[in-house]
């Protein structure tokens, strides 16, 4: 039938963007810290920073998702690992299991370091509890590499899941394409590098970590560069693509929050700062820390705009949305 209607959605908004951001960042932190600790340089503090932060991020993200469910008790259906046999086609099933098991294995992997940590042992009650379960640390050390890999594999799954979840919605051109998981993977690892750089420069502050800082800075520059290229590909895809993608292009490329906020401050400026750091070096740590903060903000903005700019095409107006898009790119609110 002629005359299609275009609208965005209001079902999954900023809170899903936060969940996707924290999920991607938390998953990538476990992967990067685990692999670094196992194969690059043993670094207890880095693992503690990465894995405890990841645990908090995933708890906050999952709790936000949980709060927005309509029927909370039924969440038991996805927490049950049998969900992978009953519903292997649903990415939320995989994602929930990846997140749960990543949290479990990364915590067990980190446990021996918690036992050794003066800071954590010094916290009232928590320190005592850590000591009480010291046997977990001993057991963990016996199979440390295996446990590390279990955490890493589930971390990779968590990172992958956030993009594949969006890709599984066929009606929206912006989401239903293989570029989304790739973009989210690259962005997740870039934000993880940024987070670890902040941890190394601001909190850990160990001069022996110079090599690690250089490695993370170089990796981040490469990742931001790739992300910029993928964003350019999305620019082409949306601007010259399907009609619903063109509406997305009108939303994104007319929005200063996307252009200046995300592309400018979230990608280009940190890329320039970190590139300068890698090629010529900076005197102090402030520029790199600033760049890392910008990368983290950009990581959230990317997901925020992706949720808001996904456009549905239908032969009738949407009931689920009050935002109906007009040909000139303006939005009519019902």
């Amino acid at each position: 039938m002629e005359g299609m209607f275009y609208s965005t959605q209001e079902l999954w908004t900023w809170w899903i963007a936060i969940y996707l951001f924290l999920g991607g960042l938390g998953g990538a932190l476990v992967v990067v810290s685990g692999l670094t600790n196992m194969y690059v340089k043993e670094h207890k503090e880095l693992v503690l920073w990465a894995n405890i932060s990841s645990l908090i991020m995933l708890s906050v993200g999952s709790f936000m998702l949980f709060l927005h469910l309509l029927h909370h008790i039924a969440v038991i259906n996805v927490l049950n690992p049998m969900v992978l046999i009953n519903k292997p086609d649903a990415w939320i099933s995989w994602g929930t299991q990846f997140i749960v098991w990543m949290m479990v294995w990364s915590f067990v992997y980190t446990y021996p370091y918690l036992v050794d940590s003066k800071f954590w042992r010094g916290i009232p009650i928590i320190g005592g509890l850590i000591g009480l379960f010291g046997w977990v640390g001993n057991l963990s050390l016996r199979f440390h590499k295996l446990i590390g890999w279990l955490a890493v594999i589930n971390g990779i799954g968590t990172v992958l899941y956030t993009g594949l979840l969006l890709q599984s919605f066929p009606a929206v051109a912006l989401w239903h394409n293989p570029g989304v998981p790739l973009l989210f993977i690259v962005s997740a690892f870039s934000t993880a590098m940024a987070f670890l750089l902040i941890a190394l420069y601001v909190f850990i502050k160990n001069p022996e970590d110079h090599g690690l800082k250089v490695l993370f800075e170089r990796s981040d520059v490469i990742l931001i560069g790739i992300e910029l290229l993928i964003i350019f590909v999305f620019f082409q895809f949306t601007t010259y693509g399907l009609e619903s993608a063109r509406y997305t292009a009108k939303i994104l490329w007319n929005d200063m929050g996307w252009i200046i906020g995300f592309v400018g401050f979230g990608l280009l400026i940190p890329f320039i700062i970190e590139f300068r750091g890698v090629t010529k070096g900076w005197k102090g740590s402030a520029p790199i820390v600033l760049a890392a903060i910008l990368v983290l903000s950009g990581g959230y903005l990317l997901r925020h705009y992706f949720m808001y700019a996904g456009v549905y095409e239908r032969p009738y107006p949407a009931i689920n949305s009050t935002h109906h898009l007009q040909m000139d790119g303006s939005v009519q609110t019902q």
Binding site: G3, L70, A74, V75, K87, A90, S168, F169, P170, Y316
Partner: protein, 208 residues
């Protein structure tokens, strides 16, 4: 006997926009109409441009398309959205956790929230609730409970313009199967690969 495969044909030429189907559906399925949540809805649209005589009014009934490849089902993590052998896609409200992934995946905007508040209001409005005990993301069921008794869906039964036909695609003698086979009725957005089972006879050929 082969298992039936149910489908609906909607004739846009004969829908008069009386909304009797919406009323019948909401009474039959106790939907939260107070929140503008419907299992079926009839859009009142204008088509054409120019003078008064060139602009026409089109009534466009919509509902869940009971897709053969339902994306709402493949994304559903709990298994709450499922498909019967006869092609009808249903929601088990007790299993549904209300994540709304199905609503995000549905290209046809066929899903709506049923909240705790809706359950309370529903009991006030309709009396005892026959179809739901917990919140969920609900949709049209093709009145499976009626169809299994050999009845037609409430919207089809009540349609004054006979704009809605319901039948079995596996029965070559069925009127719906014949209309679809003739090519005059087309599904919506078939290019998405959803294989919908609601077909529309366009009003355009006659009006242009």
């Amino acid at each position: 006997m082969t298992t039936p495969h149910y489908a609906m044909v909607i004739d846009l030429n004969t829908c008069v926009g009386c909304n009797a189907c919406m009323a019948a559906c909401s009474m039959e399925n106790q939907t939260p109409v107070w929140d503008n949540k419907w299992r079926t809805y009839v859009h009142d649209m204008e088509i054409g441009a120019g003078t008064e005589n060139e602009v026409k009014r089109r009534f466009f009934p919509r509902l869940c398309n009971h897709c053969d490849n339902p994306p709402c089902m493949s994304v559903c993590p709990t298994g709450a959205t499922y498909k019967l052998d006869n092609g009808i896609v249903l929601v088990n409200d007790e299993m549904c956790m209300g994540c709304r992934a199905c609503a995000m995946a549905c290209p046809y905007d066929a899903r709506y929230d049923v909240t705790y508040d809706d359950l309370d209001k529903g009991t006030e409005f309709y009396g005892e609730l026959h179809f739901r005990t917990s919140p969920s993301v609900d949709k049209c069921s093709f009145c499976a409970h009626r169809v299994m008794k050999g009845l037609k869906p409430a919207c089809v039964e009540t349609c004054v313009g006979s704009a809605r036909l319901f039948g079995d695609m596996n029965d070559p003698k069925d009127e719906v199967a014949k209309i679809v086979a003739s090519g005059v009725a087309k599904p919506l957005m078939a290019h998405l690969g959803t294989r919908p089972n609601v077909y529309y006879i366009s009003d355009l050929e006659r009006n242009v």
